[in-house]
Symmetry: C2
């Protein structure tokens, strides 16, 4: 049995007009209490539920946000999604989720879906290999606000919500320097990503400011496995580093595997610092000290910006969530 109670049905049973029923159900002041009561009661017993399809058509609005993300199975996006879902629900919106799986074609299809479904807004994290952001901007032209988060385009005229990459990197570097570590091995991810470039720049700059450049070695790894291997070969020479910095969870997991393999004591034999959402650093003992880049906080901020856009704020801006250093016992 499908939904089959409509305003029409109620109106015909009570022998009143459809519009009266509609108004009664909305507690419109024009309608008499007696009529309201009658209508409400019948609606209750017939389990009336308004047809959202019709309402959407009529109001030209669906109260649905879409979130586009390369992959759901990622500790950082996870918490971002969780925050967005929570806020959406609390504000009467539903959340649609689409993955791109790092495929540009899928990304395009997803954007088309956003247009077809005429969603109220889109939260988007562009996939690494996307260069043309115009399909995203097209949504803006259709009055569908787009809030870019995390992996944001270089293009100026758009809403971006980012982790404070520069600051997080600086925070981690300063913590290392302050502890008086002698030799830091800093491992970063894919150097084609702007996020990597920013983090490398801030990290090295901080060491330079303290005249410590000679105590820093930079390297890159494209995967956890590569991070593990680079750590293993580096530490064949025990003196090669007394501290390892990891740009991301992915790098951290690779590095930590290597350190467990070598049975090194943290932080006495080797110290570890990372930039992270926090989930992964807390898995180890001692817990890893990290500069926090909270997906959850980022989500909350992105949502706030979305609501501002919907209430007419066309002021375009790049917002940033400040990072804080969370002390584990690894440094």
């Amino acid at each position: 049995m499908k939904h089959n109670t409509t305003l029409k049905k109620i109106s015909s049973i009570l022998d009143i007009s459809i519009s009266t029923v509609s108004r009664a159900l909305k507690d419109h002041p024009d309608i008499s209490d007696k009529t309201k009561k009658k209508v409400l009661e019948l609606a209750e017993t017939l389990e009336y539920e308004p047809n959202t399809y019709a309402i959407n058509l009529r109001t030209n609005n669906s109260k649905v946000f879409t979130l586009i993300v390369p992959n759901i199975t990622n500790f950082f996006y996870d918490s971002f999604i969780s925050a967005i879902e929570e806020e959406s629900r609390k504000n009467g919106y539903s959340l649609m989720i689409l993955q791109t799986l790092d495929d540009t074609e899928t990304e395009l299809k997803n954007l088309k879906l956003c247009r077809l479904n005429r969603v109220s807004g889109v939260f988007a994290c562009i996939s690494p290999n996307t260069t043309d952001v115009s399909p995203f901007l097209k949504l803006d032209e259709l009055d569908i606000p787009v809030i870019f988060f995390d992996k944001v385009p270089a293009y100026e005229e758009c809403n971006k919500i980012c982790v404070a990459d520069t600051q997080a990197s600086k925070l981690a570097a300063e913590a290392i320097i302050q502890k008086g570590r002698k030799k830091t091995f800093a491992l970063f991810g894919n150097n084609n990503l702007s996020i990597t470039k920013k983090r490398v720049a801030a990290f090295t700059a901080t060491f330079e400011q303290h005249n410590m450049s000679n105590k820093l070695v930079i390297d890159y790894a494209m995967s956890a496995e590569e991070a593990r291997n680079k750590t293993l070969s580096l530490l064949k020479n025990k003196k090669a580093a007394d501290t390892i910095f990891c740009m991301s969870d992915e790098i951290l997991t690779g590095v930590m595997k290597a350190l467990q393999e070598l049975h090194l004591k943290i932080p006495t034999e080797i110290a570890v610092v990372s930039i992270s959402n926090g989930d992964i650093p807390k898995l180890y003992y001692p817990e890893i000290t990290y500069a926090e880049t909270s997906g959850y906080k980022l989500g909350k901020l992105a949502f706030t910006r979305m609501m501002a856009c919907l209430s007419g704020s066309t002021f375009i801006q790049e917002l940033t969530v400040e990072s804080v250093l969370i002390e584990g016992g690894s440094l």
Copy 2:
């Protein structure tokens, strides 16, 4: 500028009827090639995109699935969601995500949303404290198929897709026995959950079958932290156990923290086996041997069942994804 090209607009510009335009756009055989071409071209230049709201109203169907989950930030659900999203997208459906955050009231609201949005189907994982599943079954009455996964109700007449709890537990126990371990400490989660009860029962039964009950100690932990503490106090006596079994990722992370803290060598000083999706076991060195309960596979299976329901299969069943033992180096 909102979407503003409609069939009506195209029809009035070309001075033909709306239905001709509609049919031309759908490549209906009745329409002449000349007309089709005209219509297609104009639609293209005006960037016509059909109004999904109207189509939904007309067809009484929105091609949207909803997924209800206690919390997105969970390694297992993560991969389940990812699988469902992927399949949905490939099959022309969109996926709406709702969290319950283990709150029964929120769960109820979410179910109402499913009804209001008249979604095509619902994938649901009930929250631990839910006892009354009738609101879920009400969806079925509205011809909205509900596929329960992971945490499923005891109620018989519904579609359930589950991990092979019994078999996974047995697999892990057998692996331990086969390796000739002398003393196993088996740590389980919340014993109020049916999933825990099943796993405990199968685990102990397997030991009994091999007349090894005296080599097994069972305990429970409600959190990773508790698992860590129990492991720490257990291993004060080094002879207390030579093997630890962890029922879940949560337990595993707590146990592993304790083992790192004690600097125990795995598997020589202590062996570890768990039941998991796989993400967490792969973070350690050596990687943890585990009985795999794949969220991804579960998702694929759930989706298949959903499509069967939509094409009229009312045959209600409980499906199970077989578990396999993935060897790490921890046993």
